[in-house]
């Protein structure tokens, strides 16, 4: 029983980075753009998140405000990266797959370069601590699983219904969905397709940056070249088989993170399972799920991946 509680209470915070990044990517894809550079933006976010707290405190504890400034910086620069991507794929209409890889290399490279210059080595930060909810966290079983995490975890899960509302109940969400499904129709009714796409990319980028910052400030409490470990790509895949819907995406994020938590727990128990095969598990899962998910055309953005050109004759 303890084993299961362990897995769940580990798995939930593990899922946060993936969840936040996926929800951001959801807005991108709903608007018709898939951003493989998510991984690169997350790397930048991871570095920027810890930059301010580290600079102020040199690895020691700092007032919470600096942590939140770090998060804000990660989000701001993330949004900029998202819009840079927009410049290439929306304004220039370049193919999104390759451009995404380019953005990823740029992001990862820049994060690594800046890190080595400004921080370097294996410096760590105290980061953001857990914030057990008074009262609720004392409930046996449920307490440690659900109510003993840090603030970002709670916010991330609260964002799921928020994202749902934004996408399906606000005018902006309506525009995003139209632009990703039939941009020509949106254009003919007076919606600025490119502008909406830039906005979606900014939101997606900001969330990717935040996800990266979460990894460095809350989870690993440090930065390394391998910190993102493919989560950005997994986030993109998650949106596909979450059918672009916040709740299904949340389910997917939890699924993968629980697999990861399972791997750690197994190791903890001392079961002799080769370490590398356990690490492989989430990536294998992604492929398996991709192979067996049938895309439901009607649910999603049918104009995904296609640049919009009003002057193009039909």
């Amino acid at each position: 029983m303890n084993f299961i509680v362990n897995i769940l209470s580990l798995g939930i915070p593990f899922s946060v980075a993936l969840l936040i990044a996926s929800l951001g990517e959801m807005f991108n894809q709903r608007a018709g753009i898939f951003n493989l550079g998510c991984e690169g933006i997350m790397a930048m976010g991871a570095f920027l998140g810890m930059l301010i707290p580290y600079s102020i405190g040199q690895g020691g504890p700092t007032p919470g405000i600096y942590n939140f400034l770090g998060l804000a910086l990660a989000m701001g620069v993330g949004a900029l990266f998202g819009m840079l991507f927009g410049f290439v794929v929306v304004t220039f209409r370049a193919p999104q797959g390759i451009a995404g890889i380019g953005l990823q290399m740029f992001g990862v490279g820049t994060a690594g370069t800046l890190f080595r210059h400004f921080i370097g080595g294996t410096q760590s930060v105290p980061g953001i601590d857990n914030l057990p909810i008074p009262g609720l966290s004392k409930i046996p079983l449920l307490g440690p699983i659900f109510f003993s995490h840090n603030l970002l975890v709670y916010l991330a899960f609260l964002f799921v219904p928020t994202a749902w509302y934004i996408l399906f109940k606000t005018p902006w969400g309506l525009r995003v969905r139209a632009v990703g499904t039939n941009p020509r129709a949106a254009d003919s009714i007076g919606i600025q397709v490119n502008k909406v796409r830039y906005q979606a990319l900014a939101v997606g980028g900001a969330l990717a940056g935040l996800a990266g910052a979460y990894l460095s400030l809350c989870q690993a409490k440090m930065f390394s070249d391998e910190i993102i470990a493919g989560r950005g790509f997994i986030a993109v895949a998650l949106v596909y088989f979450g059918h672009w819907h916040p709740v299904k995406i949340m389910g997917g994020a939890l699924l993968f993170s629980l697999a990861q938590a399972l791997q750690l727990a197994i190791q903890g128990q001392g079961i002799n399972f080769p370490y590398e095969f356990a690490v492989m598990l989430p990536y294998v899962m992604v492929i398996v799920v991709l192979a067996f998910s049938r895309e439901s055309q009607l649910l999603g953005p049918t104009a995904l991946g296609q640049p919009f050109n009003r002057e193009k004759r039909i």
């Binding site: 380019g102 990862v108 370069t113 210059h117 590398e276």
Partner: protein, 367 residues
Amino acid sequence: MTKQFKLLYKVSIIILAILAAMTIGSIILMTIGADVFKTYMVILFEPLKTTLQLSEVLLRAIPLTIIALGISVAYRSGIINIGAEGQMAMGILGTTAVALAFPELPKPVLLPMAVLAGAISGGAWGFIPGFLKAKLQVSELLSTVMLNYIAAQLYTFFLRGPMLDPAELSMGGGTPQSMRLSRNLWLGRFLPGTRLHTGLFFALILALLIYFLLWKTSYGYKMRAAGASSRAAKYGGISVTWYLVIAMVISGAFAGMAGAIEIAGVHRRAIEGITGGYGFSGIVVALFGGLHPAGIIPASFFFGLLIVGADMTQRMVGVPANMVNVLQGIIILVIVATKMILADPYLMEKVWRKVQNRSTKSKEVEA
């Protein structure tokens, strides 16, 4: 519109693109307070100064060429291979396995066998995403990336386990590497004082082979048709899914061979970090080289130059070697954007008309 205008237009766009790339790179450099001019000088010219450094550039160019050739075959057939990193790793495992199993075989037998093993392992690793896309419509962009991570784990597993150098085990060293492989595997080094090996010629032969395959055979025609317009190819009776899989197998096999050549020519044992980003750099090289062997060869030289140069910047100007990834990323973004501008006839006409208006206006003023 005159021919000179068209040429001038295209050249100006390319120059602007290069300037844009260098500017973005400079911004990053300035953020870390580096001397921008000196950094670019080091990256671009320092490696050319000695024979040894030049040979190191060529050394990097060899696997880059081979991988980029494979990627260009895939790209032209309509599938994007981001998995060269993993395919190369699998190729190394295959080569090492054969070399460890049959060290006594004479060189003319062992070497081709080992390289073939590398090609087969890489090809198999390329087959997986190809098959997934052909049969199950799984995006190759995602499957190849996942397979990279899986391959990396498999590689580490074998290096720390079954293939671990017995010497390391007994001495308790713990460096994950295989033992030194049989001399019968080694590619000869032909430039004394350097590590430059005969794999160079192998790479050039492969380039020629790819040229013939894609442009001079009916198979190549069909692959290119499938990549250029899969719908029209299908309507034309070409089995697009079949060629897609073949293209991925070829692409993976080439990445695997690149790994085999690196082992046989440079390291002579399997160690960590061999793939060193060649898989991703190969993509940039392929794009930069216009997906054509004639362009890929000089492009690999250029990127070999960047890689060696970036290694030196750490010592000489205090710029971390990660800068090379930054530059590669910028180059990809700039290339894909520039390609779109060059392919837009409407824009070219608009510029032409503006130029004409301005010249007639100035003529009016003069009159």
